[in-house]
């Protein structure tokens, strides 16, 4: 099947006075119709940046400096602004990490939904209003018919988040880029939203890029998962393998840091140290200063994604030609 979204060797740069920062470096992945790709990784790794590049909303001076983005086989990374604006909303629905930037404080949530639908779908005012109420119900806003005329500030954080989700979905796009869509939501509403997203993927063949820190949401929703670190993909593969049996040392550390639900621990597992700043990414493997398995080659040569048997990981331990091979503990999570 031809993928709906195809990202090839994407590179995003930020020119600054102190030199050019590379925020994304050689990011490639594809999403098929009806598929949900989960994207996880270190805070600041470039997940939102990847989403922003796809929907054509990179914040200047950020710019795509290399690679291609294809939607249904057509390049969209080099389209003029006006054309991209039409694609956004109609063909790509975006759910941003920050609900306040998407919602206009001066208009009621109902008006914003109605406007979006009328821009992209052929609907009368009355029909659009009915649908707006329907969407609010679908994302679990209580007394939707009463609250459709509320302004964003009259809603709680989680309610605003759900309005943003409704806005992204209401024009029935083919691709949904969802950046932390459920972080502000309680587990019950979260379950409802996830069921809604999965149903859209299954029934309408919507492709979805789902960025989240919530591994529970990933485990339930994603088909495949990409793990990002310092502007690169560290590991990518089927959800079960990446979450339960990760092969890249960063992914292993990440999954080990998930707080347990069934007991209290005094000190939570964490990966010591911090991700390098964009201006100081070390040569070779970007994870090498924090990696417990680091060896000479890691400090010189940058690893490409290599087959590990279950996933693909950017780690020299999986190159048969390396002087050091993955220890048993890494091969079987």
């Amino acid at each position: 099947m031809a993928p709906i979204l195809d990202v090839r060797d994407l590179r995003v740069e930020f020119p600054t006075r102190r030199g050019t920062l590379t925020a994304l470096d050689g990011v490639s992945f594809a999403i098929e119709p009806g598929e949900v790709l989960g994207v996880v990784g270190e805070s600041g790794a470039g997940k939102s940046m990847t989403g922003a590049a796809i929907i054509g909303l990179l914040e200047p001076p950020g710019r795509i400096a290399g690679g291609q983005i294809l939607l249904n086989g057509r390049r969209i990374d080099n389209l003029p602004h006006e054309q991209m604006r039409r694609i956004r909303g109609r063909e790509i629905g975006a759910i941003f990490q920050d609900p306040l930037t998407t919602l206009n404080p001066l208009y009621t949530v109902g008006d914003q939904l109605i406007e979006t639908m009328q821009t992209h779908l052929d609907l009368s005012g009355g029909e659009a209003r009915q649908r707006a109420i329907g969407w609010l119900e679908m994302v679990g806003i209580p007394a939707a018919a009463q609250r459709v005329d509320s302004y964003p500030h009259e809603f709680s954080g989680g309610m605003r988040q759900r309005v943003v989700i409704a806005l992204a979905l209401c024009a029935e796009p083919k691709l949904v880029v969802a950046d932390e869509p459920t972080t502000a939501l309680d587990v019950s509403i979260q379950a409802q939203i996830i069921a809604l997203l999965k149903r859209l993927a299954r029934e309408k063949g919507t492709a979805m890029m789902l960025v989240t820190h919530d591994m529970g949401v990933i485990a339930e929703t994603a088909d495949r998962v990409a793990v990002m670190y310092a502007g690169r993909i560290a590991e990518i593969g089927p959800v079960r393998e990446v979450v339960k049996d990760p092969r890249h040392p960063y992914s292993t550390g990440l999954m080990a840091s998930i707080p347990p639900l069934d007991r209290r621990v005094e000190h939570l597992a964490q990966i010591d140290g911090a991700m390098p700043r964009l201006s100081a990414i070390p040569p070779g493997c970007a994870f090498n200063p924090r990696c417990p398995h680091v060896f000479d080659r890691c400090r010189v040569e940058r690893p490409e994604l290599l087959e590990t048997g279950a996933t693909r990981a950017a780690c020299w331990l999986y190159d048969p030609a390396s002087e050091k091979q993955a220890p048993e503990a890494l091969r079987h999570g």
């Binding site: 920050d98 609250r147 019950s188």
Partner: protein, 388 residues
Amino acid sequence: MADDIAMRASGAPPPHASDASPPRASGASPPRASGATPMLAAEELAKYFDVSRPLLQRLLAREGRRILRAVDGVSFEIPKGTTLSLVGESGCGKSTVARLVVGLYQPTRGRVLFDGQDLEKARAASEQRRRMQMIFQDPYASLNPRWRVRDIVAEPIRAFGLTRDNAAQRERVAQLLAQVGLSPLDGEKYPHEFSGGQRQRISIARALSSNPEFLVCDEPTSALDVSVQAQILNLMKDLQRRLGLTYLFISHNLAVVRQISDRIGVMYLGRLVELAPAETLFNAPRHPYTRALMEAIPDLDMTGRQRVPVGGEVPSPISPPSGCPFHPRCPLANHRCKAERPALIPARGTPETVVACHAVEEGRDGAAFTPMDQRPPGPRIGTTATAL
């Protein structure tokens, strides 16, 4: 910015070394700690919002005022050196409670005592304001976009006159940024140059910079990956152990709540429905809503178990149901529940828990009350799957 609680103090007194707070109480403390003044006490707190439509529209539609009861009579105490967490459905009033306890909202009813002193009086003194800080749910809205990060973090230090020595200030800011996993060099940048999680860490660093003793944390780690989240939670626990900090913590992530809390309050529609020591709440949740909430936790083990959302309609805080507000969704509801609002009283069987439920009081939650670890897998009583 209106919601900036680190308001400027003119001629603030020199810093008080406040590191000599009492040691952390071991384990969970009872709701009424013996004698010692709690860090914070909320007494019958309520906050109503007027969400009426404009007058003309109201007249045309012949409707009255609409009052939304965001918080409706909430009482609790937080002993010094301990953590109370609030959990509950989105929109149940957690952030409103947070804003009430730091004085950003005037209560419609009830009052807040900060270290035994009426909050309004306490906030008149800058030294008292210094002792309380808040990390906001929305890390975007709470950072001034035109300020460099180092100035944002240093602002409380300056406002409260903690040190006037520039080198010492720089040093402290660098240390705070490093503590939250950022580089001291990041201080030169502006908020928009950071990712969501990095901004959240900036607001944590800022909240810590005035050496507060009481910290209100509204979803402080929601934008962080699990490894950075673990670093922040470890930092918070460490500060509590070393300096005796007191936390009011709000999160939807129940695994995180379990790691950080001494006691947990479960809110529903503006009220506390259960308040218990953390481990008791997880091992023996009593209120039907608490139990339903536990069922809805996502399943990391990919057993294929279907998550069970809390069944039924989420009620509206504008016209809350009669009697027990959970009754339209509760499998144990009977006619008493529809008529009479249950009081928050010690629970049968787990008296360290206070719970507002007739069924628990009457002892007819029996079959449903099985500790988590003894329960069979699969859908259980207390919930019905919502058809989606």
